[in-house]
Each structure stands twice: as C-alpha cells, then as structure tokens.
Amino acid sequence: MTAPVTAADPAPSRPRRRPPRADARSSAGLRDALTIAAVWLLLGTVTALVRPDFLSTQTLLAVTFTMAVAGVLAVSQGLVVISGGLLDLSLPVALILSAWVTVSLLGAGLPTIVAVLAGPLTGAAWGLLNGLIIVYGKLNPIIVTLATGFGGLAIMLVLFKSAQIPSGSELRAFGLGRTLGLPNVFWPMVILIVLTGLAVAYTRWGRRMVAVGGNAVAAKARGLSLPRTRLAVFGGAGAIAGFAGVLFCSVNPSFTPNAGAGFQLIVIAAVILAGISLSGGKGNFLVLLLSVGFLSTIPVSIAFFGLPPAWSLVFQGGLLILAVGIDGYRMRRSAR
C-alpha cells in the first residue's frame, strides 16, 4: 500500500513506505499493554503476599493520587516523543510556571475560570518558545529544552521564591476533593489520556503528527508542513503541561520554582515504558495509562516493604533503561 501522492511530491513515481501510524489497534500495542499489566499485577501480588493490607482503598488512593500530575505530564511528553521531537526536558518549568501564573491570578482575585485557563495558555507559550527555537534554529530538541529548562528555572527563581494557592479558592477545594471515591485530580488525567489516545489514533491531526514523527521525509513529500506540525506539537504539549500545572497547584498548597524536578524521571520512564518510541512515529497513549499506573505503584509498594523511597527511583531508573533497550532492539529489528 502506498501513501497518497500529492502534486507537490518531488518524486511521485517512486513507491514509498506508508508513514507509520499510531498502533492503537495493532498487536504491538496490545503486547505492550499486556506486558505492563502483567508486571503491574506481579508487583501487586508480591506486595500483597508480604503485606495483605496492600489491597485496600488507601493503596488505591495513594496510587491514583500519585498518578494524577505525572500522568498529564506523560501525555505532554508522549506527544513530543511520538512526533519525533525526541524529548522535552523543560517540562518541569512549564509545569511550575503555569502553576505560578494560576495561583498568582487566583491570589489577585480573578475568577477561577480565568486562572485555570491561564495555566494551559502559559504552558502553550512556553512550548511554542521551545518549538520556535527548535524549528527555526534547526537545533536538537534535547539540547534546546535542556537549556531552556535551566534558563526557565533561573527566571522563575527571580520571579518568585515560593508560591501559595489561596486556601479558600475553588481550585484548592477541587484539589482536596474526591469523585467516585478517588481524588478529583485523578479523573482529568484519565480523560485526557483516553481522549489523546483516541485523537492520535483516529483523527487526521493525530495521523499527521505520527507521520511526521515516523518519517519526516515521507511526510514532507506528502505535503505536510514539518515546521507547522512541530510548532503545533510543542505548543499543544506545552498547553497540556500547563494543565498539569493547574492540577499540581490544586494539591500543592505551597511550592518553589524547582518543585517540578521530581517528575522528570517518572514521566520519561512512563512514556518509554508505554512503547512510545524515542525514534518517533510509534506509540499508544492508552498503554501510557497502564505505564503511569505501574510506575506510581512502585513507591507505594516500596513503603509497604519498609524500604526508603529512594529505592523507587532505583527501580524506575532501571525500568527506564530496560525500556530504552527494548525500544532500541525493536528499532534494529524493524530496520532489518
């Protein structure tokens, strides 16, 4: 099967590989989902054998609470990765900057809806800044976002020392509440992951993004604008990180400029573990939900075993290396 040929195609007669698409319905996605679910089940079983009280609503609350902000950030990172943007290392800045803008506006007495919308807008502006530098500077996204991450942190240190959400605000009340027995902040994350997964797999927008990530040359030959797509992805991913900032400040009554640093490892690990390939063009956002859930269970299990929480970083780091190795193996295998 060949891709549609456009009038702008420089070599219309040459047969070409169909650009890869999100494999939501593919066996690879199912395999990734089953693998993560099995390992997650194993972790839960082993912990429950040692500590039967692991199977409790307290554990469920702890895991779902831990998943909320990390899950939204993972969606943001996943979009960047699947579109071929490698990684956005400045997500912690987008998160905290958006949270700061949100609580500042709430503190200034603006309506909640204005403050809540300002979060994603701030994140989108930050993402667009990264995108502009990367696209028009033709620079490596990892280096650019590493640099803007440091620069952004420095700017935030100048802007504020610590920020606090007004304790009587509606957003704070939302962050402390529950729906269907689970933390309120958990549900927007689930909805976002499901919607993003469906959008990437079934919409033209999603297919274009995956096409650019999988084979930029072929996508360009089909008439897709790489700069416009990359800018849109960075802007959109930034907006989602900004949304994560809104959720973050609803549960963190006080935070400092560098408070987002702790999310970096779990977010990148979740994305890679979910099978969203670092080479771009491949991945399943529904598997991401399982991946985030599994990684969020690790620190809770660690607590049940009585181990210091630092061990969860060891496990998450180890899993990241394993997932990158598997991703590399798959790429080499598919290249043969």
Binding site: F65, Q164, N252, T256, P299, V300, A303, P308
Partner: protein, 362 residues
C-alpha cells in the same frame, strides 16, 4: 559608616587601589585590617550577605548587622556574595583592600571558603560564618540538636494533652542530604517524642525521604499512610516545615487527617494566611537575627579580647537559640520586617530570641 553596594564599591575600590598603588609604589601591609583602606582607628566590620535569590532574610541579616554596627559607632561595609563562588572570593579581596577588622558572612557556595579562608588568614582578619562551618572561622548557627529536641518535646506534650500519648504512628519526614543536620532535627525530635510519650511502640516510628520540600514529601508520604492503614493518632516531625506539611497534605488526600498533628522546623510555613490546620507548631530560628548573636564575638574582638575560635556545628562559637512556637503563638510573632526594625532599635546584646520568642517571655 559606609554602606557600599557591590558594583559601585567594586569600581570605587578598583580606583582607590590603583591610586594607592601609584602613590605608594605597590607597598602594602596585610595585617589587622591595615590594608589598602585608610585606617583612622575606627573598628570596621565587613559584612557579606549570601545573595541567594530565594532568601530575603539574607539581605535582612545585612540590615541588622548595619544597625548594630551603627549602634557601636563602627564603620560598616556590606557586599553581596551573589550566591557565587567567584563573587565571594572577589569580595574577600575587596574587604582586605578596604582594611576591615572583622568579616561576617554567609556563603551559600562554600566550596570557595578554603580559598577565602587563606586570604583572610594571610591578612590577619578574623571571620564569623553563619550556618556553614569553615575551619578557622567562628561558627554561628542554630543549635540544630536543640531545635530537634524542642520540636519533638512540644509535639509530644501536645499529644499527651490531646491523646494521653495514645499515638499509633510517628512519621519522620527526612531530608537525608542535609546529613548531620537532618539527624539532629528529626532524630532528636523522635527521641524527644519518645521521652514525653515512652509507651509509643518502637515500630510505630516510620521515616521517609521528603528531601526537605513539600512536593517530594507529598509524593512520597501517601505510601507511608497506605502502608499503615490502621494508624489513627498520627504525629509528624520533619527536617523543616515544608517536609512536615507535605505529610499533612498527603494525609488529607487519603482521608487520614482527622487525628494528625505535625511540628515543623524553621518556621517557614507556620505564619501567613495558608497555615495547614494540622501543623500544630514549628521551631523558629529568626534567621534574619543571626548578626545579633554574632556581635557577641565581634564586641569581644573589637575590645581586644579575642575569643577562642570555635568552628564547628558541634562546638559553635555562638549557638542560635531555637524557638518552638505553637500555631497560635506564631500568629502573634511580628513580621520579618518588624523584627528587623525592633532588633535595630534594641539594646546591645539583645537577640531576636529575647525579643520575639514566647518561651523567652516566660
């Protein structure tokens, strides 16, 4: 009295040095503050504030020191280390050129301290350092061991009054990267709780890594609560207020905040509009008031009665007294700006602890 901002001072000092070198043919004396500056016999205090971007109290330390120096009729030279090793090192040269008799400083980038110490040693200028110890410098810092004990004792007494010491879980929100300071604050707090409530079983004491900040504490604490599902009456101690409040917030998220109380350290989150209702109290250090303690040494040096150098946290030249305050008491403590103004107007030898700590008032 001179109060010289960093950049103008740099230019002025450079010009002064150039002129002096030209006039004297590069001759210089390097002892006892008799460097490049004119010495009219007035005692000159050099003060280097830390310049960290997230710490107003560092600048306010300079304001307090300036006021106390004025009280004594001393000359005063203030520079900012700008949270930079290079600037801190340059400032040492400038203080030496200015001919100061004593330096007080907070340097948040202590890796430069050995180099700076050599410069001052060669120039014969004594140094008082805040919170970060350096061999050969008078150490002034909070008594962390006493702070931990004070916080734990206060929390234990609240638990005794409220729950008759029937405590199911004592959570310690640690910041292990702080090393011995973490052990002093959290370890001593746990021991103090056990002292007040000796019947709390040993396995009810659980520690976790909070890294000294609310976000990490809030991320890691849910697992601790989930792993102790039957605990009802819960106490929280920690390396600082951020760590303790992170645990208290996690308890709220998991619906475990009915019977939980925490006692923090440093007073960072015990005042203001957003105090966590379960933060029973904290230990305040009044960081802006450190110079008032340091002037105990400065007065002796100025009087020619140079005290023995004590340069470690274990054996400090002057230990800053920690002040345990309940949430209600903290609400009555004046703001940091008011405290600086009050310290500046206070009699010689008065410290922030004397003025503002409820325990000092009896």
């Amino acid at each position: 009295m001179k109060h010289v901002p960093h950049r103008p001072f740099t230019l002025a000092a450079a010009a002064l040095t150039a002129a002096a070198l030209g006039l004297t043919g590069c001759s210089s004396e390097g002892s006892g503050g008799g460097g490049g500056g004119e010495d009219d016999g007035t005692f000159t205090l050099g003060f280097a504030v830390g310049g960290q971007p997230d710490a107003d109290w560092q600048d306010l330390q300079g304001d307090v020191a300036q006021a106390l120096a004025e009280q004594r009729g001393w000359d005063f030279v203030e520079l900012s280390n700008d949270n930079s090793e290079a600037t801190a090192t340059t400032n040492a040269d400038l203080f030496i050129q200015e001919g100061v008799d004593l330096v007080m400083m907070f340097n948040g980038q202590p890796s430069a301290n050995p180099v700076i110490a050599k410069k001052y040693e060669d120039a014969g200028i004594p140094v008082i350092t805040f919170d970060i110890a350096q061999e050969g410098w008078y150490f002034v810092g909070v008594d962390n061991a006493a702070a931990g004990t004070a916080g734990g004792t206060a929390l234990g007494e609240v638990a005794k009054a409220e729950w008759d010491c029937e405590v199911d879980l004592v959570i310690s929100a640690e910041g292990t990267s702080a090393g011995q300071i973490n052990e002093w604050r959290t370890g001593n707090a746990r021991e103090a709780v056990a002292e007040v409530c000796p019947d709390i079983p040993e396995d009810a004491y659980v520690s976790y890594e909070a890294d000294g900040n609310l976000t990490t504490s809030l991320q890691n604490a849910p697992g601790v609560f989930a792993a102790n599902p039957d605990a009802e009456n819960i106490l929280v101690v920690g390396i600082n207020d951020q760590a303790v409040v992170g645990a208290l917030q996690a308890a709220t998220q998991l619906g475990r905040d009915d019977n939980i109380m925490g006692w923090g350290q440093d007073g960072g989150l015990i005042t203001g509009d957003n105090v966590d209702p379960n933060l029973a109290g904290s230990v305040m250090y009044f960081l802006e008031g450190y110079p008032a303690f340091a002037f105990e040494i400065a007065d002796a040096i100025a009087a020619g009665d140079v005290p023995e150098v004590k340069d470690t946290g274990d054996d400090a030249a002057v230990s800053v007294k920690p002040c345990p305050v309940s949430q209600e008491e903290a609400a009555e403590v004046p703001s940091i700006d008011e405290r600086v103004a009050a310290l500046a107007d206070a009699e010689q030898g008065t410290t922030a602890y004397d003025l503002f700590c409820p325990a000092a008032a009896g």
